[in-house]
């Protein structure tokens, strides 16, 4: 008997992922900058939506405040790199900024995890929302953080590579790393524990799952990867204010992308992000006023028609077809 929690990684999926990755890597050579920017957004926000799922994908601990970690990463790196000064090469400053952002986010996430993971369900969601608000307000109102006036970031570049392509590759890398972390997590003991916590936390505890520890690991890991996303995002913007990185929309997007595609998977949030970014950037590119309204309509449609997302919809169709086949065979 094999571990029933391990889904076999099919050769088909591995091969198609590898091909997709190769295609994605060489795309900057053929695409127009505008289309590259659209793909940039898909990889950046898709990667972050996947990182949101480290905790929210397996359990009902749905964070409504993950923008806190985008902002935390962005401001930690921006202020540290400003302090380092222009004498140091921008690329080295980015590396230092990444390091410091991860260290700070790690510390903050561990501290906040203790009280906030004691809250369940909607209380956790609201707690995270408040946490993000507090950090945002702090960055805006304390002068040392310069959130109100804004902070500039060094312009990172590589010889012979356009800035659009460079950030495209960085975001792609983040996306791939987060996907791999998610898959590794799902196949690990921690992932198994998290799935159980999502089903019934008390029973999980009863059967010996160290629920507190597993939740904390997933939360901190998620926070750190989001923070890295925040650092890269800030550098791609070149200039950040509180309003650009501490945005409720960022938090909501991570949830909407997951819900649209299918929570608890890698493909789900990636697909959800791709659809939403495509629709809002390309289809509605000239109708920005309708953007938020459309997000609302899509959200209502998913919740009522496909609560398990598009992946869930496809899976249940497939299962129904298979079960009727078995039915006729019997």
């Amino acid at each position: 008997m094999k571990n029933p929690f391990h889904r076999p990684l099919s050769a088909f999926w591995l091969a198609s992922s590898a091909i997709a990755l190769i295609v994605a890597v060489i795309l900057p050579a053929v695409l127009l900058p505008f289309h590259l920017r659209v793909l940039q957004q898909i990889f950046l926000f898709g990667g972050m939506a996947i990182a949101w799922g480290f905790l929210g994908g397996f359990t009902t601990y749905w964070s409504f405040g993950h923008t806190a970690f985008i902002g935390l990463g962005a401001f930690s790196s921006a202020l540290f790199e400003q302090w380092l000064g222009p004498a140091i090469a921008p690329e080295l400053r980015l590396a230092c900024g990444l390091l410091i952002a991860v260290v700070i986010t790690f510390a903050v996430a561990i501290l906040i995890a203790l009280p906030i993971l004691k809250l369940r369900g909607v209380y956790f969601a609201i707690g995270m929302l408040a946490f993000a608000e507090i950090l945002g307000e702090a960055s805006r109102n304390f002068d040392i953080f310069q959130g109100a006036i804004g902070v500039s970031l060094p312009a990172v570049s590589l010889p012979g590579v356009s800035s659009v392509s460079l950030f495209y590759w960085l975001f792609l890398m983040l996306f791939v790393v987060n996907s791999l972390i998610f898959i590794a997590l799902r196949r690990s003991r921690i992932g198994m524990g998290l799935i159980c916590i999502g089903q019934d936390e008390d029973t999980a505890n009863m059967l010996g799952v160290p629920a507190e520890r597993h939740k904390r690991i997933a939360f901190v890991l998620s926070a750190c990867m989001i923070s890295i996303g925040g650092v890269l995002y800030a550098h791609s913007l070149g200039f950040i204010t509180t309003g650009s990185v501490f945005r409720v929309e960022h938090s909501l997007d991570m949830i909407v992308f997951n819900m649209l595609g299918g929570i608890g998977t890698v493909i789900g949030p990636a697909l959800g992000t791709a659809i939403m970014v495509f629709v809002t950037q390309i289809v509605l590119g000239r109708l920005l006023d309708y953007h938020l309204m459309l997000t609302g309509v899509i959200l209502i449609a998913i919740v009522s028609l496909a609560p398990a997302g598009l992946i869930g919809l496809v899976e249940s169709r497939y299962r129904r077809r298979r079960s009727t086949q078995i039915g006729t065979a019997l």
Binding site: N3, Q199, T203, M206, V209
Partner: protein, 239 residues
Amino acid sequence: MSSILSVRSLNRNFGGLRAIHDLSFELQRGAITSIVGPNGAGKSTLFNMFTGYLRPTSGQILFNNKSIVGLPPHLICGRGIARAFQIAKPFPQLSVEKNIWVAAEFGASGYRDPAAVVEHAIETCRLLPWRHAEASSLSVGTLRRLELACAMAARPTLLLADEPCAGLNETETREVTDVLLEIKAAGVTVLLVEHDMKAVRRISGRVIVIEAGRKIADGPPSDVLSNQVVIDAYLGSAA
């Protein structure tokens, strides 16, 4: 041989209510012992303290001669106490197999090969036809056996069974008690809380009667269940 569980002058108050009142007993290794008593006598409170969900107000609980008071539930599970609930609480959207696997994987710390344990639990608890079924689709009797299977797969040395026969018909009751006997035969000590006196008589070697948090009788089922104090307090004169 030393006792596996030792309860010493245990007290638990809820506000002004004394749910458990100076309770002491020792549990013999390898036997099935039943705790009976009217609803509200403190049986569930007792189980909640044994599994770390409630802290005693005072007194000691020793498991294998070590205190377990104040330990969190997952560590107590790791030491070897498992519990099957009266109202079965499986992971609803996971299959029977997965439910049991989790218990095997996390139950006893440091265990490396859950597969054999899972197979054994599925067979002993007669769950083979349902192994791929979602837990939420099971009937009450099957669910109760799934609870026992999970508790077994955690490889406990002490199993706390909380009214495993409540609401079951005679056939189902017999199936559950058979499973309990097999668990005992495998060397596991069983502490049973049950209202079904037929089941209690059939499988337990010793009965402890509690009422309003106090022990009022303790001994072999034939003696205890004909004891006048027990009949007045719990069974009723018609029994």
